[in-house]
C-alpha cells in the first residue's frame, strides 16, 4: 500500500519505548543482558538520528510500577550530577547527549526500588503508560510543527508478558494511534508473544517481530525497524499471518469463541450470570437466544397478525 502524502524529505519522529523490567532482564534464562541490549538499542537510535539531520527521537522507559521520559529530559532545575555537559572530541555531540541521557536515566530508575516494590502486578511493566506518554508527546510535536511534515512512529521493545489489567488502556492507545495514523512497531525480544501488542501492530499497520535469536537484536532493529515512513512504501515488510482476535472473558480470563456480552457495558462473560459484574446491571432471567429474540420483537410491535392469540397483547387505550 503506497501512501503518496508522505514525502521523501519529511523528518521522522521516532518514539522508542524500552521495557526495562528487571525481573525479566535479570532472569537466569535471559539470553541477553540489559547492558548488552542497550548497546544495540543505542546504536540503533544513533542510526535513526544519523539518517536525517532533522530526525527526532524520544525515549521512554517502561519500568515495573513506573514510566518515565529518558530523552528529551525534563528541562527542570539541572541537578549537579547531570552528565553530557562535557564535550568529548571523539563523539558526535548529538549521539553523546542521547546515549548519556538514556543510560543515566535507566540507571537512576533501576536504583530506586520503590515503584517496583509498591506495584501489585510485578510481572509486567507499564507499557500502557509509556504508550500514553508517547502519544501525548507526538500530539504536541505534531501541533508545534507548523509545516505538518513530521512523520511519527512508535517502537516498543519489550520483554515482559502482557498484563491483563492493562487491556483497556492499551486498547485506548491503539485506537488513538490508529486515528492519528501512527504505526506502533513492536519487537518482542524474547518470551511468549505479546497478544495486546500484536493487536496494536496489526490495527495500526505497524510491524510485529519476535527475533529468532535475541543476540542479533541490532540486526533486527536495523533491517526491520529503521526504514522511515517513506521507504516503507517500497519495502516488503515482515507481516503477521495469524493474529488472535478472540476475546478473553472478564470473569475467568478464559479465551472464548462464543461469549455472553452485557448489552450495557459490553463486558464479555463465558457463562450466564444474573448480574453484570462490571456495571452491576441486573439481567433478565434467560439470555436472549435468536429465536426468543424474534418472538419478543413481534410482541413489542403489537402486530395483529402474529400467531399468538392466547396471550392478550398490550393495546394502547
Amino acid at each position: 500500500m503506497k501512501d503518496s502524502t508522505i514525502n521523501e524529505d519529511d523528518p521522522n519522529l521516532l518514539v522508542i519505548v524500552i521495557d526495562i523490567n528487571p525481573f525479566e532482564w535479570e532472569h537466569p534464562s535471559a539470553p541477553l543482558s540489559l547492558n548488552e541490549a542497550l548497546q544495540h538499542i543505542l546504536a540503533f537510535m544513533n542510526a535513526h538520528l544519523a539518517g536525517r539531520h532533522d530526525n527526532r527521537l524520544a525515549v521512554i522507559a517502561s519500568h515495573v510500577g513506573a514510566s518515565k521520559f529518558l530523552y528529551p529530559e525534563l528541562n527542570g532545575p539541572i541537578p549537579g550530577g547531570r552528565v553530557g555537559t562535557k564535550k568529548d572530541a571523539n563523539a558526535y555531540q548529538v549521539f553523546k547527549v542521547v546515549n548519556d541521557a538514556v543510560q543515566s536515566g535507566i540507571a537512576k530508575l533501576l536504583q530506586d526500588p520503590r515503584p517496583a516494590l509498591e506495584e501489585r502486578d510485578v510481572g509486567s511493566s507499564k507499557i500502557a503508560a509509556s504508550l500514553s506518554l508517547g502519544l501525548c508527546y507526538i500530539n504536541q510535536a505534531l501541533k508545534s510543527d507548523g509545516m505538518g511534515h513530521v512523520r511519527p512512529r512508535i517502537l516498543v521493545l519489550t520483554v515482559s508478558p502482557d498484563s491483563s489489567s492493562d487491556y483497556i488502556p492499551i486498547m485506548n492507545c491503539i485506537f488513538s494511534a490508529q486515528k492519528a495514523n501512527i504505526p506502533i512497531d513492536v519487537c518482542k525480544i524474547w518470551g511468549k508473544d505479546a497478544v495486546f501488542l500484536q493487536q496494536a501492530a496489526h490495527i495500526t499497520e505497524g510491524i510485529y517481530m519476535k527475533p529468532s535469536d535475541p543476540r542479533g537484536l541490532l540486526q533486527i532493529l536495523m533491517f526491520s525497524f529503521l526504514p522511515d515512513m517513506y521507504s516503507r512504501n517500497y519495502l516488503y515488510l515482515p507481516g503477521q499471518d495469524q493474529v488472535d482476535f478472540r476475546a478473553a472473558c472478564f470473569c475467568h480470563k478464559k479465551i472464548v469463541d462464543i461469549g455472553y456480552v452485557c448489552s450495557v457495558c459490553l463486558s464479555i462473560f463465558c457463562s450466564f450470570s444474573p448480574v453484570c459484574s462490571t456495571c452491576r446491571t441486573k439481567f433478565a432471567f434467560q439470555p436472549l437466544l435468536p429465536s426468543a429474540r424474534r418472538l419478543g420483537a413481534k410482541a413489542g410491535a403489537s402486530n395483529p397478525g402474529s400467531p399468538r392469540p392466547s396471550t392478550p397483547l398490550p393495546t394502547p387505550s
Binding site: Q140, N172, K179, I203, R246, V261, S263, A284, L288, A301
Partner: protein, 435 residues
C-alpha cells in the same frame, strides 16, 4: 399542516462571546433579530504593553475548557444503537442559505458523520431513508458496515431532489424496520429537514404516538426554521431538536448525536447477548462465502455453524449469531471508564511544576508573568485529581478527547490509584439511575 416560521436561537448554543449580561437574560424572550447587536471586540483590552496576546490567550483557553468539561459520570449508555437517518430530498434542499447548498452540505457532513459514528459506536447500525415527492425511500438498510453507507452517500443518483417531503411516510418506514431490532439495543431516528411543510397520507400525531409507544427516540435538525410538528415529535419521543444557524452550527448539531446517549428509560431491557468471536482463516483455495455467495480466499468462520463470512462485525446469515471481534468491543470501553476532568491550577500554586508531565513542554513560570496578566489569564496547568500530575492545555484536551487514559495515573504503581477505586465510585451514580 401546522407550520410555524419561527427561528429561535437556542439558549445554550451561542458561540459568540457574551459581552452584555442583560442581553443574555433577555435572550430567551427575544427573537434573534430583536437582540441587541453583540460587539464581540469589546472584550479585547490591551494590556500595559499594548499587546493583545494575553487576552486572546485566555479566551482561547476558555473556549478549550468549555468544550472539554463534559460529564464524566459513568451512567449507563446505550452502546448498541440502531439509528435511521431521514434525509429530506425535497426541492427546498436546493436553497443556498447554507453553502454550497443545503443538500450538498448535508451529504458532505453525513459522510463524515457515518465514519465518526462507527468509530465511536462500533457495534451499532445505521440506515438511511430519503423522502421526496411525498414518498419515502430506503437508501440503505440498517447495517453496521460504514463503507456501504458512504458509497451510497456518494452516488449522484440519490442526490436528486424534487417535490415535497413526507415526514409520516419516512417515520413509518423507519419504525417498521426499527421495531424488529432486539430490545437491548436503542432505537433512534434522526430527521434532517429542510422543508417547512410535509405531505402526509394520514394523521402524523398517530405516528408520533406509535413511536413513543415503541420506545423510539427521534431527534430533529431543521435547516430552515423551527416547525411545530418537528418540535413536538422530538419532545414527545425525548429526542433533541435544533435549528442550524450556520454551517458550523449544523455540523455541531449533527455530531452531538454521535456519543451514545444515556439510558434513562427503564423500558429498554438490558440483557446478556450471545456473540461469537470468529477467527480469521487463510485458505489456499477459494470457497464460497455465506454472505455474498462468492468465491473468496479466507474469511471469518462462524464459531457456531462454521459458515464463512467475508467481514465482521455482522450477523451470521445462517445462524443469526452476532459476530464481532474483541478490538471492536474495546473501542467503546472508554465510554464506561471516562477520565476524570482535570482541575485548573491557580497561578499561586503554579511554581510547583515546570513542565507538562506527558509532553515535556515547559510551562510559563509565574515569576515571569506580571501580576496584572495573571489576574486575567489562567496558568495553563491542569492537574489530575487522582495522581496529582500536571498537564498542559493541549494534553488535557488530547487526554480527554482522544486518548481516554491518564498517563499520570498509569505511570504509578497500580496499588496507589487502582481501577477498584475508580470503579467503586463509578458504581454509585449508576445504582441511583437504575432506581
Amino acid at each position: 399542516m401546522a407550520t410555524n416560521g419561527r427561528r429561535q436561537v437556542d439558549e445554550d448554543d451561542d458561540d459568540i462571546i457574551d459581552v452584555d449580561d442583560s442581553s443574555l437574560q433577555n435572550n430567551q424572550a427575544n427573537y434573534a433579530w430583536e437582540e441587541e447587536y453583540k460587539r464581540s471586540w469589546d472584550v479585547l483590552q490591551e494590556d500595559e504593553h499594548g499587546s493583545l496576546a494575553g487576552v486572546v490567550n485566555s479566551l482561547q483557553q476558555a473556549a478549550k475548557r468549555k468544550r472539554q468539561l463534559r460529564d464524566t459520570d459513568p451512567i449507563q449508555r446505550g452502546i448498541i444503537r440502531h439509528l435511521f437517518i431521514i434525509v429530506d430530498l425535497s426541492s427546498s434542499m436546493q436553497e443556498k442559505d447554507l453553502r454550497p447548498s443545503r443538500l450538498s452540505l448535508t451529504f458532505t457532513y453525513l459522510e463524515a458523520f457515518v465514519a465518526e459514528y462507527f468509530d465511536q459506536n462500533p457495534i451499532s447500525q445505521i440506515g438511511l431513508i430519503g423522502t421526496k415527492d411525498g414518498l419515502a425511500e430506503k437508501l440503505t438498510e440498517l447495517s453496521g458496515n460504514p463503507t456501504e453507507h458512504i458509497r451510497t452517500l456518494k452516488m449522484k443518483k440519490f442526490q436528486e431532489v424534487g417535490g415535497e417531503p413526507s415526514l409520516q411516510n419516512a417515520l413509518e418506514l423507519a419504525r417498521n424496520s426499527l421495531i424488529h431490532v432486539p430490545a437491548h439495543g436503542s432505537r433512534e431516528i434522526l430527521v434532517i429537514m429542510g422543508s417547512l411543510t410535509t405531505t402526509d397520507p394520514g394523521n402524523i400525531h398517530d405516528t408520533i404516538a406509535q413511536l413513543v409507544q415503541d420506545n423510539i427516540r427521534a431527534s430533529v435538525i431543521a435547516l430552515a426554521a423551527e416547525v411545530q410538528v418537528l418540535k413536538s415529535l422530538s419532545t414527545q419521543t425525548k429526542g433533541t431538536f435544533g435549528v442550524a444557524m450556520n454551517e458550523g452550527h449544523y455540523r455541531d448539531l449533527l455530531f452531538e448525536v454521535i456519543p451514545p446517549t444515556a439510558v434513562t428509560t427503564t423500558k429498554t431491557s438490558s440483557n446478556l447477548v450471545q456473540m461469537g468471536f470468529p477467527a480469521r482463516s487463510n485458505e489456499s483455495a477459494a470457497t464460497l462465502c455465506a454472505c455474498h455467495n462468492k468465491l473468496t480466499l479466507g474469511g471469518y468462520i462462524c464459531p457456531r455453524c462454521n459458515s464463512k463470512l467475508c467481514d465482521i462485525p455482522t450477523e451470521c446469515d445462517i445462524c443469526t449469531l452476532t459476530l464481532v471481534s474483541s478490538p471492536l468491543l474495546a473501542r467503546s470501553y472508554h465510554h464506561l471508564f471516562p477520565v476524570e476532568n482535570f482541575i485548573e491550577v491557580a497561578w499561586k500554586d503554579a511554581a510547583a511544576t515546570t513542565a507538562c508531565f506527558s509532553c515535556q513542554k515547559s510551562f510559563l513560570s509565574p515569576h515571569k508573568v506580571s501580576l496584572q496578566l495573571q489576574a486575567t489569564t489562567d496558568a495553563g496547568r491542569y492537574q489530575c485529581k487522582l495522581c496529582d500530575k500536571t498537564f498542559c492545555a493541549d494534553c488535557d484536551l488530547f487526554i480527554h478527547d482522544v486518548l481516554h487514559n491518564c498517563p499520570g495515573c498509569l505511570s504509578q504503581p497500580r496499588r496507589l490509584f487502582g481501577k477498584p477505586k475508580a470503579m467503586a465510585t463509578a458504581n454509585i451514580p449508576k445504582a441511583t439511575v437504575q432506581k
